[in-house]
């Protein structure tokens, strides 16, 4: 029949033995560099896509609905210590704050910032470690993540709010000087929310984020249609792989 070799490979027996089913995706219970499977794999004859190094999803990350994204983020919380690579997050936030330092006209002191998709607060903490005077608010669609955020950050002065997909963000127009999205934009964020991020960003405020496993031209087209301007790739993180980049864009003067 079809003579071409398919790039969709079966997983090794070693990885299969470690797979745990959670909802309709799989998590590899044992973590380690030698346990990273191929980007696309077949499990029981069905196609799966690797997400982070240890989760296999039935759809590529950018095709997941918001409900699915929420479920995966909750699994990520459950396996937080194993799944989340602190060093990787830290090095990405270094590049993101480097972009702010280079592109923001004023020194980032006492700036109001939004951490979009803040999860349980790791990204917010990493941002504050580097820009201590940020007045930071986190938002996320996961109740579990926000509950964990509030529990872990209760002695610190960072706010966090739960938001819902398809609803406006609970902030005034132009409320923020900066918007960050750290390990978020590989998901396909709905256009209403992208428009909201532009609305709450005071011109010429910067929206800075990292993205990987996604066509950046398509994302740039979405941002442009949501009303952002000056859409740039700030740095290609070639040492990380997966087409990982840090991008920025601005809210245009109205």
């Amino acid at each position: 029949m079809l003579s071409q070799v398919s790039p969709i490979l079966p997983l090794s027996a070693k990885i299969v033995a470690q797979l745990q089913k959670a909802d309709d995706f799989y998590v590899c219970r044992q973590f380690g560099e030698d346990m990273v499977g191929p980007p696309m794999a077949s499990i029981d004859g069905k196609m799966y896509f690797r997400f982070m190094n240890f989760i296999y999803l039935p759809q590529p990350p950018e095709s997941l609905t918001a409900e699915r994204v929420k479920k995966i983020c909750d699994v990520r919380l459950e396996f937080f210590d194993q799944l989340v690579n602190y060093q990787l997050n830290s090095s990405v936030v270094d590049v993101i704050t480097g972009c702010v330092a280079a592109k923001h006209a004023n020194p980032p002191s006492s700036l109001k910032a939004l951490d979009f998709g803040c999860g349980s607060g790791l990204s917010s903490q990493l941002l504050l470690d580097r820009i201590p005077n940020l007045d930071l608010t986190g938002v996320d669609i996961s109740e579990k993540a926000i509950a964990r955020f509030q529990q872990e950050q209760k002695n610190k002065n960072i706010k966090a709010a739960l938001t819902r997909v398809g609803e406006r963000l609970p902030f005034e127009t132009g409320a923020f000087d900066l918007v960050f999205a750290i390990f978020v934009m590989h998901f396909n964020i709905d256009m209403l929310t992208l428009g909201e991020l532009r609305r709450v960003l005071r011109p010429p405020g910067l929206f800075v984020f990292n993205v990987y496993q996604r066509d950046t031209d398509g994302l740039a087209a979405q941002l442009e249609e949501a009303g952002f301007c000056s859409i740039d790739v700030w740095e290609r993180l070639t040492h990380i792989g997966n087409n990982h980049v840090v991008m920025s864009c601005r809210s245009p003067a109205r």
Binding site: Q4, M47, P60, M191, D215, D217
Partner: protein, 221 residues
């Protein structure tokens, strides 16, 4: 203007009604600037396909228009450039339009989307070669982006929905079993990884053909 009755998931060869419904939907959803671009792409596609017909005898332009409408039905996050890509999706493969024309008129992202869903195609290919070429393109689409996959899913969906309207006298009718085999091995898995709702609708269509005996035309021919 009254409400336009249009069911995108049924066979429909009424070009005027389809266009009316598409224009209405586009004008409601997009800004004036983006709607103008989309309608300019529709004009370009209409002109390029003007002498071509679908297997069911309908003017060819109905297919890109329906693909665009399906994108709007299944993916609320469809930006104007994806819709433009959908309207032009067959122009590189089936008309004289070339990549630089699309690039110059609608930008590199639209041109790239169209190129992604274009397969190497010529009339002298054997059935086996055609299926191989489709499979190669399928692998590229899978490894492409959500936008590319979504256009391809909607393209496949419109083709599948319309098999039943192909008359027995058309050479296409005899190809239905091969196309259904490609639906099973390529279109359905692609839809499954791209959009659950589209996958479910496509599966129902596929089941209809299987139950109606289209996988072996000797039984119904």
């Amino acid at each position: 203007m009254g409400k336009i009755e249009y069911d995108i998931l049924s066979c429909d060869s009424r070009v005027d009604k389809t266009e009316e419904y598409l224009c209405k939907t586009v004008n409601e959803k997009y800004s004036q600037e983006h709607a103008q671009q989309i309608l300019a792409a529709l004009d370009m596609a209409r002109e390029a396909h003007r002498d071509q017909l679908r297997c069911n005898g309908a003017p060819y332009i109905i297919h890109p228009m329906r693909v665009a409408l399906m994108l709007l039905q299944f993916d609320t996050n469809t930006i104007s450039k994806i819709l433009i890509g959908a309207l032009l999706h067959d122009t590189l493969e089936k008309t004289g339009i070339k990549f630089p024309e699309i690039d110059a008129r609608f930008g590199s992202y639209v041109a790239k989307l169209v190129q992604f869903v274009t397969r190497k195609h010529n009339e002298s290919q054997s059935d086996q070669e055609k299926t191989e070429a489709k499979y190669q393109n399928w692998l590229e689409v899978i490894a492409g982006s959500h936008d590319v996959r979504m256009i391809k899913v909607c393209e496949d969906m419109d083709n599948i929905i319309n098999y039943k309207s192909i008359p027995k006298s058309d050479p296409g009718w005899k190809k239905i079993p091969r196309w259904l085999s490609e639906t099973e091995t390529m279109s359905l898995p692609l839809a499954q990884i791209t959009n659950s709702e589209a996958h479910s609708v496509m599966h129902q269509e596929y089941d209809y053909y299987v139950k109606s005996g289209f996988t072996d035309l000797t039984l119904i021919g």
